[in-house]
Point group: C2
Chain length 388, copies 2
């Protein structure tokens, strides 16, 4: 099995991009990723590509959705879709193929036009027959997780809000973020209610965006950079509350399982992670993810965020980019942009949001909810400064 | 790089399956694949799964669409989508991961509910703004290929119809086929016109179905069978007429490129292929695919089918299962069912449609058309009786 390294990362500024087509976004993210490679790269060097998109606005139904905007034809292009874990699963699939030897240089591209059909997405996100009829939209599904966590562990509304305060603080400094404002706990708690206990500032926005990453095998890495970031481990899992295996709604078993796989492959523990980009579609999601990833004990997520540890200058910074809450969540692009942020953090090139703990290991995490809102998928990738 | 073998294949009878849910279909195909493993297999043995579906009827938006019907949770499930090459691309991705060492035993499952939303599919299959407004629906897109082939190479309407006659002859013997009738050239030519020159019997039906395959690494193959079928090579490519690279519409460069990759990886030529399951969504598609795969010279597809070579008792049987024309084309399942048929043919277990040339190498091929109807993707997998 060959080691795989990230050597280039590019994205576009996320936001409401009505002025850009899907192809515009994808092309620019792709070109930015190529430009980012230290020693340069030619499009001819790319052996294969992986394409992450939910195709929400019906822009890209196959690998052609990557080929057209990039001009990368006559090569394998695999489209991967895995709910909100689409981008991270595309990255994982590309890594597997480079490890297997079917490509030396691979492109991962994620893109999503969300604003063109957001209504459809939000409405479609819960199954008509059962859940939606009972009011369980996507925010309500996560709201239930929040009320359960508050009930079971005494987590306060203010602790949940702290996640939003932290991520908007980071996002205000992050040049590619959709939202670039700061807010206080009071602002979050007083913002309009969406679904108890989650308010407007507890929810990520509906955002357009694209991101691209270039990965290479150990055999050719020196041609592209002297400062690669390595893939140390990966995990992918599914779970569902229908199995009755969940003892409580206050966490996501899929995240726990994916983390276990990724830590084992990387031969590390949660303690070794120095910086993380995690899935904060809602504030409560990040709070329970601290626990699911093992950054703190079960039930301690509220205390963890209050302690300052996940802050930019803390000992375990989480979502330096502002996370989904500030940066935005263009689904196919989200995981790819997270990988890119970890890559830049480990290279010390994250600018205004560079963490201060000289990170060795970084983790990227997505959780996705199936359309029936009873199951979840989670994908995690761990990058390391040193070769594994 | 480890060698990978197929050790189990299962499917359900394809057809109009209004009485079965998506989960019913997927579960049965999965259980049939497990049952097919010579020395038995436990669901606990499966390390990871790949799931191919276009999710046409909105049954399965992520890996959970595989986890729910199979009960396979707490493991990596990757959903792959690649237009009509979805099933074959899912198989290819699973093979890459097993080669890379991330799984020893992997499941590939493809399923599609087509009858529940066929109108939407057919309508959505060409881009509104440009192509559909000009009448270029999917049959029309392939009809243009047919008229071009007839004009350029003198191919006759009757030769195109021969593909349907052959595949319905095979399908009439194939137990899982949607359509099990025979027809004559006259029947095809006299059937209702869909889009010149293609008539009803030149078009594949709209079919529900599911299929599943179990693959394993060389390290564990002996635990499952003494008669494995090996993966010899794979190819995947995209192309588009917008590039101006096509000299003519009478073929698919994506197929040519994918075939080149697959033959190179398998270290064979087109001459070595003894049996093939190819993409015959329309009769003309199979006819030009003979040429694109190198089974005959460019322009000779009409003569090739007339010669009897691709018939069940010919020297290069094509679509012994009846192909998409008779068996049906439940998109996510199509490529997986083709892999399964090649597996059975190479093991000599294809029953009433067993080819007579004692096949050593078999090929499975899909071509997919992007929603804008100007581009195509092609995925090809080559299996071999002997270990590569």
């Amino acid at each position: 099995m060959r080691d795989v390294a990230v050597v280039g990362a590019g994205m576009i500024d996320f936001g409401e991009l009505f002025e850009q087509s899907f192809d515009d976004m994808a092309e620019r993210a792709y070109l930015n990723a190529l430009d980012d490679v230290d020693k340069g790269i030619d499009s001819e060097d790319i052996d294969a590509a992986w394409f992450g998109t939910l195709d929400i606005a019906e822009n890209a139904s196959s690998g052609l959705g990557l080929s057209h905007p990039t001009g990368l034809f006559e090569m394998p292009v695999t489209r991967v879709e895995n709910a909100c874990a689409t981008g991270s699963t595309a990255f994982r699939s590309a890594v597997e193929a480079v490890r297997a030897g079917s490509a030396d240089v691979a492109l991962v591209l994620g893109a999503e036009k969300m604003r063109d059909s957001a209504g459809g997405l939000i409405e479609g996100a819960s199954l008509e027959q059962v859940w939606r009829g009972r009011g369980v939209t996507m925010p309500a599904f996560f709201g239930l997780r929040a009320t359960r966590h508050m009930e079971e562990y005494g987590t306060t509304r203010e602790q949940v809000a702290e996640v939003s305060v932290k991520n908007h603080e980071n996002g205000s400094k992050y040049p590619h973020a959709h939202y670039r404002f700061t807010c206080s706990v009071e602002d979050v708690v007083d913002s309009p209610q969406v679904t108890y206990p989650l308010n407007l500032y507890d929810c990520c926005p509906v955002t357009d965006g694209a991101a691209a990453t270039v990965i290479v095998s150990e055999d050719v890495v020196e041609e592209y950079t002297d400062d690669p970031v390595w893939v140390a481990g990966s995990g992918l899992a599914t779970d569902t509350v229908q199995r009755g295996a969940d003892e409580s709604l206050a966490g996501f078993p899929a995240t726990q399982q994916a983390a276990e796989q990724a830590y084992e492959e990387a031969d590390i523990t949660a303690d070794d992670i120095d910086v993380a980009e995690v899935h904060d579609c809602f504030t409560i999601t990040e709070l329970v993810t601290y626990e699911d990833l093992g950054f703190c004990e079960k039930g301690e997520g509220g205390a963890f965020v209050e302690s300052g540890k996940p802050h930019l200058d803390g000992e375990k910074p989480v979502n330096p980019s502002g996370g989904l809450l500030a940066k935005g969540h263009p689904i196919g692009a989200t995981g790819v942009a997270q990988v890119n942020e970890i890559y830049e953090q480990l290279r010390g090139e994250a600018g205004a949001v560079q963490v201060e703990n000289d990170p060795e290991y970084g983790l990227q995490h997505n959780i996705g909810i199936g359309r029936d809102a009873t199951g979840s998928v989670s994908c995690i990738n761990v990058l390391s400064k040193d070769r594994p």
